[in-house]
């Protein structure tokens, strides 16, 4: 009997805890799937690091997840998504970034309009959001907001501190029809951003949460690829972190908290020799011989450049 990968876990990764907002959205939409979440907490933040370094980190993590037999990978990190649009074409499993679903949701919310992009220094510097939105016929105003992540992680998202910082970044924003929260931490700042942006523009912009948009895309693609689990029971979540486990529990609690086990993993042992020849995940070795069972191998759906 041939083993199909549809009951294998989905891999989700982020530079740290931020991707837990994406994991939560995925779990809500796909409650019976199993998830392996990898937070690269030893090397967080990615947002201020050189892009080639971020790409190398993403490659290491993808290898780790593939070695654990995932059936697909969600890059739940805007910086890594923006830095590595090409990493997917080489892989044998589908890869989704958070960038394109966010762009599509913004274009639907404000067609031909004025769209704001808030993100890390790294994300904004790539220009990836800006290029796609402009190609979609919108005017774009982008702003790097490096204080937002530490504010969320300090647990002061709903205080006067967060309000002042939001005003600091947004005081010169033009009137906007939609604003992409281009970093996984930012949904925690929605109330303050609504307050500040609502008063800046007469009619407040739509806040686009990429986590929701990404989860919808992943669910639709899994179904189309015949990769949705057929289990009827709630799936598990395994958390892997490269840094301190206790710190992870503490910080993760601010973003919904980890459910399931948390284990430390050492990525540095693993060296990524060639992106063209990643270690084939064991779960695919059988289906590889019988191609009709594995539609995702013939049509890798990766980072979805529209």
């Amino acid at each position: 009997m041939i083993r199909r990968p549809h009951n294998a876990p989905l891999g989700v990764f982020d530079s740290g805890v931020g991707g837990l907002t994406v994991l939560s959205a995925l779990k809500k939409r796909l409650p019976n799937e199993d998830f392996i979440y990898l937070g690269d907490t030893a090397r967080v933040p990615y947002g201020s690091k050189p892009l080639e370094m971020v790409r190398a980190f993403a490659n290491e993590i993808i290898l780790e997840l593939l070695s654990r037999g995932v059936k697909g990978i969600v890059v739940a990190c805007n910086t890594a998504s923006a830095a590595s649009p090409e990493l997917s074409a080489e892989l044998s499993v589908p890869v989704w970034g958070v960038l394109e679903p966010g762009v599509q949701a913004a274009l639907r919310a404000a067609p031909g309009g004025s769209i704001g992009v808030l993100g890390t220094v790294g994300t904004v510097r790539t220009g990836a959001y800006q290029q796609r939105l402009e190609a979609g016929g919108c005017r774009v105003w982008a702003k790097a907001c490096p204080l937002f992540v530490p504010i969320v992680e300090e647990g002061v998202s709903d205080t006067a501190i967060a309000r002042l910082v939001a005003q600091h970044y947004l005081h010169d924003a033009p009137p906007l029809d939609a604003v992409i929260l281009g970093c996984t931490h930012y949904p925690a700042l929605k109330p303050i951003l609504t307050e500040v942006l609502g008063s800046a523009a007469l009619k407040g912009p739509v806040l686009v949460d990429s986590a929701e948009a990404t989860a919808a895309q992943v669910a639709a693609d899994l179904a189309a690829l015949n990769l949705t689990t057929d289990r009827r029971t709630p799936g598990w979540v395994q958390h892997l972190v490269t840094g301190d486990v206790a710190s992870y529990h503490h910080t993760a609690a601010l973003l919904g908290g980890p459910t399931g086990s948390v284990t430390r993993v050492d990525l540095e042992r693993r060296s990524y020799t060639s992106p063209r020849n990643p270690t084939p995940p064991q779960i695919y070795s059988a289906p590889r011989e019988t191609s009709d069972e594995t539609p995702h191998e013939q049509e890798p759906t990766v980072m979805r450049p529209t």
Copy 2:
């Protein structure tokens, strides 16, 4: 003719740009010395990382600096100083941390008094400051202030944002006689901290800047070890960074700015096999044979555990 190391450069390192405050203090006191400053900007911040990881980073950097022939090393990073009090005993050159000079300055400023310690999560968690101050007969109140570094790096140290954040951390501080700024970034917050702490206690505490205290200690020790340069002209500064060079220029400007060349260096190539047998710096291979010329090899002065 035997080559003496007194005209070799001093190595200074930090997890990022923060150590530039220490470098500035050193340059002011020792203008004719040459300096190699290494900022581990690819792996910043250290303050939230596991201590054994911080120790491994420090070891890698020390090897890099030794391979460049430094005559001594200043660990201009509170987290690394607090994490690695023992790293020095193994080395053939003097090593200074910022922790002990700060402790001594605080004990002089407020003997038997009440002393506050502000630092990163990592620094406060080690308890290194607290133990030494309590051993010196003081009461200690320590607080991790993770938002202070991003606030300085965002260039908003003198704004209402910084004031609110300082109040957030200090609102429950007891009356204090002295406060150690236990992170190299914090001197940029002196005006705000004076304002907030001055109103919390009736008579404001002395703010202890470890950079100044460390520079004084290094100058005194170099003289005692016969290692002060005999050049009469201003020395150079070479900056090595593990991350992005352009970002370094930008962020460093907030802390006085880099003077001299900035070069990217890759530490990951270098693996630290044994702390007991570091690669001997080439500059010491000759003096090693003629011991009277090299007092610092017989009496390594390291991290100065009082």
